[in-house]
């Protein structure tokens, strides 16, 4: 049992270092949108979210907190940047989970790789 346990922990360390040999494409951390630290890419296309009210995400349209793309503030503003992960997880996952709870097709609710491979769509 001890050997199996040590082997498992070593395997886990190898997966952490080199990635899963079975799980397909691996995302690359980088300074997307001029982020101060390397972050995971995100999958988001407006065309996939056409039924969502703009204001649900673009809060700056009515609370006067700035203009431009989401990432202009959320990646580069030193007050907002540290909250990026929690804010986007709450917003994206929350909405997807809510749709799933209503029995609607709301996109992936939880699996990390479903949202973190990145895409080229606007």
């Amino acid at each position: 049992m001890k050997t199996i346990f040590v082997f498992s922990i070593l395997s886990m360390a190898l997966i952490i270092a080199f990635g899963s040999p079975f799980a397909g494409e691996q995302p690359v951390r980088d300074h997307y949108f001029e982020s101060p630290e390397p972050v995971l890419p995100m999958t988001f296309a407006h065309i996939h979210h056409a039924t969502v009210n703009c204001i649900d995400c673009h809060h700056n349209y009515n609370d006067d907190t700035g203009g431009g793309l989401c990432m202009n503030c959320h990646m580069t503003n030193e007050d907002v940047w540290p909250l990026l992960e929690n804010q986007f997880h709450d917003l994206c996952r929350g909405c997807h989970a809510e749709k799933a709870a209503l029995g609607e097709d709301g996109g992936p609710p939880r699996r990390c790789v479903d949202c973190h491979l990145g895409d080229d769509l606007p």
């Binding site: 346990f5 498992s8 899963s20 040999p21 079975f22 609710p109 939880r110």
Partner: protein
């Protein structure tokens, strides 16, 4: 309601491992069947490892959750897994004899390690908030963990509980995991 079949099935395995750990704690009373306790401990460790590898092998990004900068509840999950491994492997002779010279000291520290392991995993489950969304649910879950950890005097009075065999535990875990994922993901 569901978080996807992959995610819910993987976490169902984790819940099954935690339930096994609680069962082992409750049944570790005076009339302990040491061999059954030991063998079921292996099965609990196997399920806990299966839970971790499920995500690491099946989701390329899940690994980011256990790298530096990961949330504290994930670190507590890893620490809980390592403690569980140590708890089980060091409990076996001859390793036990190297660490603990006398049996009462071993029993004491084995129990302390078990309680710390339960605490780490309880934190991992509750603070992640993936399944216990309200404070009522979290409080009930923590209460169960505390009662199991510190209710030893009560559990002893229960006498010898039925022994759960490894095939029965694995089969029940598989069945309940499948039901858990199905209830959360099948359109109702």
């Amino acid at each position: 309601m569901g978080a996807g079949w992959f995610w819910d099935a993987g976490n169902g395995l984790g819940f099954a491992a935690f339930a096994g750990l609680l069962y082992l704690t409750i049944t570790s009373s005076r009339r302990l069947d040491i061999r059954a306790h030991q063998v079921l401990g292996y099965a609990v460790l196997f399920l806990a490892l299966f839970h971790a590898f499920w995500f690491l092998l099946g989701d390329t990004v899940a690994v980011e959750f256990i790298k530096p900068g990961a949330p504290d509840y994930m670190w507590l999950g890893i620490i809980g897994l390592l403690l569980l491994g140590v708890l089980i492997t060091v409990a076996l002779v001859p390793d036990r004899m190297r660490v603990h010279k006398d049996y009462p000291a071993f029993k004491y520290w084995h129990r302390v390690f078990a309680i710390v392991t339960i605490a780490c995993i309880t934190y991992h489950i509750v603070v992640s908030g993936f399944y216990l969304a309200t404070w009522h649910q979290a409080a009930l879950f923590v209460t169960v963990a505390v009662v199991v950890s510190f209710g030893r005097m009560y559990w002893i009075k229960l006498g010898k509980l039925p022994t759960v065999t490894v095939p029965a535990y694995i089969a029940l875990s598989a069945l309940l995991t499948a039901m858990f994922a199905a209830v959360r993901n099948l359109p109702l």
